[in-house]
Structure formats: C-alpha cells, structure tokens
C-alpha cells in the first residue's frame, strides 16, 4: 500500500490523484504504526496515539493541499502538475 502510494505520487500528473496517493502513503504508515504497536508492545498505547495524531495532521494537510489546488486551478485553468511552472520562468 505504501509503494502503491509512492508509485502514484511519482507517476500521476493530476494533482488530486497525487493528493490521493499521498493519503495512501500516510495511511499505510499509520496502519504500520498500529500493527507494529500491537505486535511489539501489546501493553502500551504509544503507537495508537501516534496514529491518531497522524490522522489529525493528515486531515489538516489535506485541507491545505486542496486549498492550494483550488487556487492553482483558478490561476492556471487546470490541475495538471506540469503546467505549474509559472514561478520558474
């Protein structure tokens, strides 16, 4: 799942798809936290808390990313990542 996310992040040109791929990566990491916490330290909850914390950050990050995408759409007219080269030139 992590590598599916990475693959998506690298290959997709649509910004929404990239965002979704990023979510996949983060979710994969969080599942890992939860699962490893269960196997390695069954009597402690740090992994679980970390996962909850991660979900909150992910939500915030998604909101920011969507806002950026909407603004990019307004100024460029589409959401293809290759067209976002205004600041380079």
């Amino acid at each position: 799942m992590f590598f599916i996310g990475i693959f998506g992040f690298i290959t997709r040109k649509n910004m929404i798809a990239i965002l979704i791929s990023l979510e996949l990566v983060l979710n994969a990491v969080e599942i890992n936290f939860a699962a490893f916490n269960r196997f390695l330290y069954p009597h402690q909850l740090e992994g679980m808390f970390f996962t909850l914390f991660g979900i909150a950050i992910t939500a915030a990050e998604t909101a920011v990313a969507l806002a950026i995408i909407i603004n990019a759409y307004r100024s460029v007219g589409n959401i293809n990542i290759n067209n976002l080269n205004k600041m380079k030139n």
Partner: protein, 637 residues
Amino acid sequence: MEYSLFILIAPFFLFLVLGLLGMKMQPKVAGIIGTAGMGLCAICAYAVAYQYFFQTGKAGEEWQQLIPVNFEWLRFTEYLHIDLGILLDPISVMMLAVITTVSLMVHIYSLGYMHGETGFQRYYALLSLFSFSMLGLVVATNIFQMYIFWELVGVSSYSLIGFYYTKPSAVSASKKAFIVTRFADLGFLIGILILSYYTKTFDFGTLTANHAELVTNSFAGGTFMGLSLATWALALIFMGGAGKSAMFPLHIWLPDAMEGPTPVSALIHAATMVVAGVFLVARLFPVYFFAAPDVLTLIAYVGTFTALFAAIIAITQTDIKRVLAFSTISQIAYMMVALGVSDYGGHDGLGYMASMFHLFTHAFFKALLFLGAGSVIHAVHSNEMSQMGNLRKYMPVTNITFAIACLAIAGIPPFSGFFSKDEILAAAFHNHPLIFWTLWAVAGLTAFYMWRLYYCIFWNGNKTYSEHHKPHESPWTMAVPLIILAVFSVFSGLIPFAGFISSDNMPFHTHIDWLVASLSIGIGVTGIAVATVLYLRKSNRPAEIAQSLGGLYRAALHKFYLDEIWMWFTQTVIFKYICMPIAWFDRHIIDGAMNGLAWTTQKSADSVKGLQSGQVQFYAWVFVAGSVLIAVLVLFL
C-alpha cells in the same frame, strides 16, 4: 650650522608654492618668487661655505665631517636604518656653492629666455624641485638618502626634458632619459643592497672611516664569479653613477636630453645632475680605493674611452647643443678618469682633488657655454650651425663670454679649465701613460671642436639676416648671468683647491708640472689653430676633409650608431628573447591555469544544472530510488 637645513627647505617650499599656486599667479610674479627664493638659498649656501672653510671646518689640520642635522627616518633592523640628514664636508659644501650659484644664474637667465612661454610657472616649480633634489643629493648622510634624491633628480630631469610636452621628440627624449638612467639605477640599488647587507650600515661616515675598514672586513672571503662581492657591489654602484653621468655605453640619453629648454640643459645636463655620478664615486672614494681597486681601474678605462669617443662625435655634430652635450660627456669622463687613476692620501691623491676641481670649474664654463648657446638660439631661433655665422656683430656680450668659456674648456691659461685639466693630466702622467696620452689627444680634440663651434656661430663668412629676423643681443636678464659666469670661468681656476679638498681630508700643496702643462697648452693651442684655419672663414676645406675620411666621418656623425645598437639590443634581444617568453608564460601558463579553473567549474555546473528541474515528483523518484538502493545495500552486504 643648523641653518644649512634652510638650503634644502627653501627650494622645496618654493616648489610647493609655485606648483600648487603657480597657475593663479602672473608668470612674472612666479618667476621672481622662484628667483628670489633661489637667491636666498644661494646666500645661505655661501654662508655655510664660508663658515665651513674658514671657521668650523678644520679639526686640527684635517677637514672634518660635520652633521648638523640627522634624524632616523626608517628602521629596518637593529643595525640597519635609513636616516635623513645633512653632511657637510669639503666636497658637499663645494657642491652646495656650485649648485646654488648655477641654479641662481639659470633662474635669472630663464626670466628672459622663457619669457612668454606657456607653463612658465610650471617651469619654475620644476626648477625648484630639481634644485631641492640635487642639494639633498650632495648633502646626503647615507647612501640610501642619496639614492632617494638620486631618483628625485631623475624625475625632475625627466619632467624638464619633457617640458615641451606637445613636441613628440621632447616626449621621447624624456622617456629615453628616464628609462636609461632608471635602468642604470637598478644596478645602483642592487649595489646598495649588497653593500648594506654585508656592512649593516648605509652611513657614509661609517663606510669610509679608517680606510674603509668596515667594508674590507665585512666582505672578507665572499666571491661571485671570480670577483669579490665588494667588487661586485661597488661596480654596480658605479653603474648607477655611469648612467647618471652618461658614461659609455649608457650615454645615449644625454644628447637627446637637449630637447629640453636650454637653461635646463645648462643646469641639469651640464653643471649639476650629470656630475652626480662623479660625486658618488668621490663620496665613496676610500671604499673604492681600499675595498675594490679593480673597479677604480675599470672607471679609469671606461672614462678614458668615453672621453675620446664623445670628443670624436662632438667634432661632427652640427646642432650646437649636441656639440655641447657630447663635450659634457667627454669632460665628465675626464673627472671619472681622474678619480680612477687617483691614489689615496696627500699628494698621491691628486686625481681625487683634480676631479673635484674640474667638476667645479666645468660647472661654470659649461653652464656658461650652454647659456651662451641659449642666447644664440634665442636670437636665431634655430639650433643648427648652418643657420648661424657672423653673429659677433650682433651679439657682442654673448660673443665675448662664449669665447672666454671656449678658452677655459680648451685649457688655455690663465682660464680656469687650464688648471683643473692640467691637474687631471698630471695625475695620469706618471703611472698611466696610455690614459695620459689619450686624454692629451682628447684635450686637443676638445679645443678643436669648441673653437669650431665658436667660429661657426660667431664668424664664418658674411652671413646676412633678413631685416625682420635680425639677431639682437639678449635682454639684460640673460646677459647678466653670462657675465657673472664668465667671471667665474676666468678666475675659479686660481683657487688653491688642494688646500680645501683632498682624498684624505688633509690639505696639501700642488704645483704646476710644467712638462705636463706645456704639453697640454701645446695641444690646446694646436686644436684652436686648426679650427681657426678651417672655420674662421667659410671654405670648402672642412667638407673635403670629411669627404676624405669617408666612413669614419659618417659613423661619428651618426654617433657611431650607438642608438641603433641599443635599439636593436632592446628590440631584438630584450623584447624578443626575454619579454616575449615571459609574456607568453603569463598569458598561457598563469592566465591559462586561471581560465582552466573557471572553465572546469562552469562546465561541471552546466552538466548538473539539468537536474535542478523543480519537478518535485522527479526528486521524490530519485529519493525513493536512492533509499531503496541504500536499503538493499544495507540489507544484503
């Protein structure tokens, strides 16, 4: 005698005032200020000379060295430091009097000669600068101070030769003078450095004390290429002197230096600056005599050759100032020879005394000759002999004074040149027959070319001048210095010089050696007689003689092609084989290394520039690939 410092300060102050404020003054005011300042300076110098020679100079029988002013200027090591100060001894006091006198005469003379020239104020400022540097040179307490002022006279000479800076020939002459003397000064500097490295002092008093003991001891044993280091050091110092004093083969700048205004030639290139080399050797005479007698022999032979060589060229020249220039070279060579053949102490040191004596008399009569020539040029507006003739009717004062100077330089008694030249010949007579007979012949040549010059200017046919270009006697500002200098030229030979100046500072007595004197008078009269026969009236005989001499005459007319040889030497040898490889090395190796470094950096930057695309996805890809690679490496290796 602290007031001797005023002699130095006054001209320097004048230089500053005239140099900075001159343009705001009327030319006439600037000229009068400069002349008056120089007059004060001269009075002061006479006072110093009187007080030194008649009151305070003697310690018992011996002339002592007085140092009224001396302060430390720059300290290098515990022993080595450069001082600035004033050293009074017989030769420096004598030089003070000569320089200020001639300088004052030139200042007065220039009021008339330079009247109406643009840059009149600049001219006076530079004259003051020159006087300051020359006076500083002769009173230097140590060899480094002398070197500093030595360069200063070089600079002021450069700017005065190039005074007419709109004239290309003057500009190139000034450059030539500066570069040639600068080249010689390189030797001087190296000589000073070697000398001071071993002796740990610059001071003249210390160097020459006790028969130059310090130099002889501190150089013990050091040799380089078969000659002792002391010999090398002193020979290099002599090279500086030879450059300034226009000894063969470094004489080429002096004839060209005649491009400057004529009074400048009289002051700098006849009476004062060009004898600086003689003065230098005289100042270090004990060092030369005891530490490097070989160099003295070298000086004697270089001088003899130069005297003969310059006299031969002087015969053929037609520009009156060039004749005088070559005559100057020849006479300075006389002084050098006298130093070269001199022994140390008492009557054996006759050559030393004779050299200073000739320097003294020569300064007056040569300055007079130049000023007279300037007066003629002022009247005729040309330097060429062919434009002159028959001027005695138009310019009586110049005629008489010029004739006196010619008699003096030809060595006819009782004029001053006779006494000094006779001493030089007497000094060479006993031990150096070859040098003696050469100098004797040169004395004849001297008489001949000077009288040739005189007849060509003032007699020689009935040349007529057109009505509105009629030559006229010069104004009194120019005539008065001529008369004063003529008086000096007549009587300065009667001074009993040996009582004042000698190699070991002990007065002695000289007597005229009548054998030598009659020989020298004989050749002088012969020279004059030949000149009279050939040039008193216009005739074809000189041209016929020149014709029969053929190649020799042409070679002498072209100054034995020395200029061309130097040109070839600098162009072909120095530029082509030394400068070009150095330039190539600089351009290709040094610059090449720098350029190569820049090129490599740029190319490597270009090649990695493409990776900085701004594509985050590409970065992520590389990052992931790298992490995987590292993970694989860590796991499986």
